[in-house]
Symmetry: C2
Subunit: 198 residues, 2 copies
């Protein structure tokens, strides 16, 4: 089965394809260059379905979309759905990281807990033999926010996210290690389980 | 009774003095130029007490401190305690406003509810006739976040906060009107009630 992944981010397509294909032989994940809707939802689940539905409608193929973000406890779960645009107009990974570190500058170590969260929405168009279906899964990667960026692998907030059980940032892990541990990896494996049980 | 207000912000001293003195004849509010501690608390209440305790210790006088902020529902109550430093290092009112508007750019009108919140902590040192006392009160001003700044009165997030019952921003109200409606006004009146019942 082929899934379209509703993102223009090639990092994500590679990550999904690598994990999903290894868990479920015969499944592959394709990139998508169709329209990207405004993510006007107010939760990961809403935004993921907004994107997956547009891709399914545009391509006619089973479509996946994830909405992921960093949830910092002392920020009541923010940046959350605002992770990629946290620093506003023209946001970049490094500006987002810099802003978050500055916001948390006075926050003591014991209050720096955070989680990467990933929700994957699946939209499967109706076929001659089966009705349309929608489902979603979630993956959570616990850790805390460092005092300064570290490491050059990864993207987004990886340089300041120290996963539980480590004393280095997610950007210091090698890609294989991260692909095994990450919130997206956890969500994709959960998805593989659900699809396998189908 | 004279209270020291633990802030270097002269706007706030004037606001407290005006409201508290008019509600409680004989009470006045003094400015403070002593040490300002790091606000390392993770709630308005904690930060207010951190500041009031330092001022009481430094001056030996009954001391007040407020911790106030803008709580946006779709941001799970943030900027909250981070309101004044929302845009990070070198934050200014206009940068904070600009960042918040950019973060909420895709958020539809029905999800733009927000409240200004103000907690006032009171620390009264022990005297010969009475032991030390601590208490706190809270004031809440409901409204929503506008699409663009408006008005030139006020400070902080006033230009983008539209109070419930109005269709203009808090920065468009005249100072008397705002002093009557604001979160700080509500908290200060609550404080006056508590002090009057003493």
């Amino acid at each position: 089965m082929r899934f379209v992944l509703a993102t223009h981010n090639t990092h994500k397509v590679a990550e999904f394809d690598q994990i999903l294909a290894s868990a479920l032989p015969g499944v592959s994940v394709l990139g998508y260059d169709g329209p990207e809707p405004v993510e006007s939802g107010v939760s990961f689940v809403e935004n993921a379905f907004i994107k997956a539905r547009v891709a399914a409608e545009h391509t006619g193929l089973p479509s996946l979309a994830d909405d992921s973000g960093l949830c910092v406890n002392v920020l009541s779960g923010m940046p959350g759905i605002f992770s990629s645009r946290w620093s506003g107009e023209g946001a970049t990974d490094s500006r987002n990281v810099e802003l978050l570190l500055a916001q948390l500058a006075d926050v003591p170590d014991e209050y720096r807990a955070a989680q990467f969260r990933c929700v994957i929405a699946v939209v499967i168009p109706a076929t001659a033999s089966s009705p349309a279906r929608e489902l979603s899964v979630e993956g959570v990667w616990p850790g805390h926010i460092a005092r300064a960026p570290e490491g050059t692998n990864g993207f987004g907030y990886d340089p300041i996210f120290v996963p539980e059980g480590f004393d280095v940032s997610a950007a210091s892990l090698n890609p294989e290690e991260k692909n095994d541990l990450s919130h997206r990896a956890r969500a994709i494996r959960e998805l593989a389980k659900v699809l396998a049980d189908d």
